[in-house]
């Protein structure tokens, strides 16, 4: 049969081909071959592209460091720098002192995220005066909430087991009842921060202190075996994690370095009950004396200079204060500041 005189050419052709190839494996079609080559090429190019993108000569690299923000506010000329309130009711004291400073509303704006940092270092009862008075914390939280703060975080990087510190100090219950979120630090949530101090270069700072718009420092005045006193500046030990016990090798300068890194909006110093000996942990009520005083201010050094008096120390005896003054953090001469005593 010739092709010429056959009307069913395509069909016959196909039949003929099928007969020829019977039992033989079929070959790839042109379309399949194109597709195969395309797939292989894409895989090869993807390999080379990824390889180039990920190419690395130096596997060791420094961790990126963040810088802490300045949380202070500009204050009008003639504003009160420090207010000291005395009286048997601690909550009334902090109310009066805040009011004398112009009211908390001059410091906290609606919608802001505020972190309140009491000293919750130890698994101790409020009466033992190793931690900040929970009633004061509650009052400050309540005022922040009333002012429309978006978040009020209460936190501290405790020395003892943090859950027990917050429970036994009464601060967790009081702060929660007042509307705060109590943030308990675990093994995560610390951010590498550039300190750039004289002895501290970097530190692991707990996230609320990095994220907050405003920071209120709420230390308690108490005795400390190494530094003689722990108040506002020393309270910043509780914002960092890491292997921080090493700070005691250079405690005075470390405190000054941390204090230079932290620029709080406001500081509220609790001298309602003062631990006079066996600090910073205390334990015996015999070491605790009531002074029923709350001091509020914007100069932490001045507040600490004032607070040293409760511990029968002169500011010049406290090495960390001298370092803080040298770093330009504040003044020891609190009497030179615009001050109100109530």
């Amino acid at each position: 049969m010739t092709r010429k005189n056959n009307p069913d050419l395509p069909l016959a052709d196909a039949l003929q081909r099928a007969a020829d190839n019977a039992g033989k494996p079929r070959a790839y079609t042109r379309r399949e071959i194109t597709s195969k080559i395309a797939q292989t090429s894409v895989a090869a190019l993807a390999t080379l592209g990824l390889g180039t993108w990920l190419y690395d000569r130096e596997t060791a690299r420094a961790e990126p460091l963040i810088k802490m923000r300045d949380h202070r506010i500009a204050r009008p000329a003639g504003a009160v720098d420090m207010a000291i309130a005395r009286g048997p009711d601690a909550v009334e004291n902090v109310r009066k002192a805040l009011k004398a400073m112009g009211g908390l509303e001059t410091f906290i704006k609606p919608g802001e995220r505020v972190v309140v940092k009491p000293n919750v270092g130890w698994n101790r009862l409020p009466e033992q005066a190793a931690n900040t008075n929970p009633e004061l914390v509650a009052e400050v939280v309540r005022q922040c909430v009333t002012l429309g703060a978006k978040e009020v975080w209460v936190t501290d990087v405790s020395v003892n087991k943090v859950e027990q510190c917050f429970a036994r100090s009464g601060i967790e219950a009081a702060a929660k009842a007042a509307g705060a979120k109590v943030v308990l630090p675990g093994s995560t949530g610390f951010r590498a921060v550039a300190v750039g101090g004289r002895v501290l270069q970097t530190a692991e700072v707990f996230w609320p202190f990095v994220d907050a718009d405003k920071i209120i420092n709420m230390p308690i005045v108490k005795h400390h075996g190494l530094t003689n006193a722990t108040m506002s500046l020393k309270n910043w030990y509780g914002v960092i994690g890491g292997h921080r016990v090493r700070l005691h090798q250079e405690i005075d300068q470390s405190i000054a370095d941390l204090a230079a890194m932290m620029k709080p909006t406001l500081t509220i110093l609790d001298a309602t009950r003062v631990l006079l000996a066996n600090g910073p942990t205390g334990g015996s009520l015999d070491d605790v004396k009531r002074f029923d005083t709350v001091a509020v201010g914007v100069d932490e050094v001045a507040l600490d200079a004032f607070g040293a008096g409760f511990l029968n120390r002169s500011p010049s005896e406290l090495g960390f204060l001298a370092r803080a003054v040298a770093a330009g953090i504040g003044t020891l001469d609190y009497k030179s500041l615009k001050r109100v005593e109530l």
Binding site: G23, K24, P25, R26, A27, Y28, E32, I33, K36, I37, Q39, T40, A43, A44, T47, L48, L50, G51, L54, Y55, D56, R57, E58, T59, A60, S187, V195, G197, V199, L200, Q201, T202, A203, E204, I240, G242, H243, R244, R246, L247, Q249, E250, S254, D257
Partner: protein
Amino acid sequence: MRYLWLRRVYQATFLALFLFLVGVTTISFISGYPVEWFLGFDPLVAIATALAGHTLFVTLAWSLPLIVLTLVMGRFFCGWICPMGTLHHFFGWVGKLRRVPDRVKLNAPRPAYTLKYYLLVGFLVAAVCGSAQIGLLDPIAFIWRAFTTVVMPAADNTAYGVYQGTRHFSFGGVIAILFIAALAMNLWIPRLYCRLLCPLGALLGLLSRFALFRLQKDPDKCKDCNACGADCQGAAEPHGTLRVSECMLCLNCQGRCPRDGIRYGFLPSPELTTDRLDLTRRRTLTAALGGLLAVPLLRAGSGSEPRPSPLRIRPPGALDEPDFLARCIKCGVCMKACPTGGLQPTLTEAGLEGLWTPILVPRLGYCENLCVLCSAVCPTGAIAPLTVLKKVGKPPHQEPVRIGSAFIDRGRCLPWAMDTACIVCEEVCPTSPKAVYFKLETVVTRDGSSKTLKRPFVDLDRCVGCGVCENHCPVYDEAAIRVTSVGESRSAKNRIMLTGGRV
């Protein structure tokens, strides 16, 4: 047949090259040789460490051409290049059965051979979780580790240490047993390690599904004698539909075929080769889940974090522990290169996750002050590239690289406990000013006379943890001055002194 000989020449050449590179990895000969080269072009090491460490270390860029070649040509690496594969091939030949039908049966595919793909999935998921456990089974890491810790030391020690002095590696016996077992498996089924376990083979198998060139039989010539299957290294079924992923291109099928019925060519018929792997979705997911769970289980069960073992003294330049474990494949090249033999495989010091990773054992060998060989040979950058200036902390680098700190045990120290003069730790201390220094103390000895002794102290601001003091301390078993890992530069936490100010 001539291609068979070509393959054998390739195998012999690459095995010889591998042995040569292993051989020159010692202080007398190493200069100028890229001894880690075989690991550099290992695509599995490249992919696993890139998944875990998020970059492709420069040495591993060698693997890119190999991947591309495999995509085009198939899994030739296993049959032609892999030194571990060549050893398996040899021992498979040693145990070869006499009768062809028996061999055909032995070299037929088995469902169990899919295991390597599941292992690969599990190991790669573990890599994504930040753990480079792939080095446990990767054949190049496996053979390097075995040669470093067992084969070479055994040979050298038998020859009285003519090659690099006697060497002893901590629990190298475990590595030896596994290496011998991997080779002995071939006496039962040829290339059983490659077929069943090798995750690199599995990876190359997956890549070879893209291969444009494949082996194929000519159905016109085939008389179904089955001879091609007698010595198939990959159990790839050349007589049926060739399994491309299993085919190592060893060409034994071609060599065996009495009618020259098998050729290697461009895209043969789709009916003569197959890309199929016979993996099930359920098993693949189980393998992935295994990898996912293995990492946290290894870590939780090891007790190595957050407090490191004091004995976990990493080589200088080693990345911080999590980054280190994301890259270290336990190949042991650094241990081989270490001129003092102090770098040793861990057993428990770095937890289960860190098994066989390198630590310095100063009693066996110290860290030579002006030496950066371990960092130079590390194929994955787990020990980051280091220069001597960077290591010793000369400008522009201010701080030296510290790997630990030395402590004096006053109960064992001669001047402290025995009123006997000794200055060895101070004498050998390489830093300047010396980290080990003396205070002169006059003591009343047992017989009542007085004696002035130089009693050693360690200045931790100077000490780099090199361990030369511990190595040379005359108290022969447990030294009176010992190094622990604390103070290592790479860690922000494992420290004593505030010096440096990283908290």
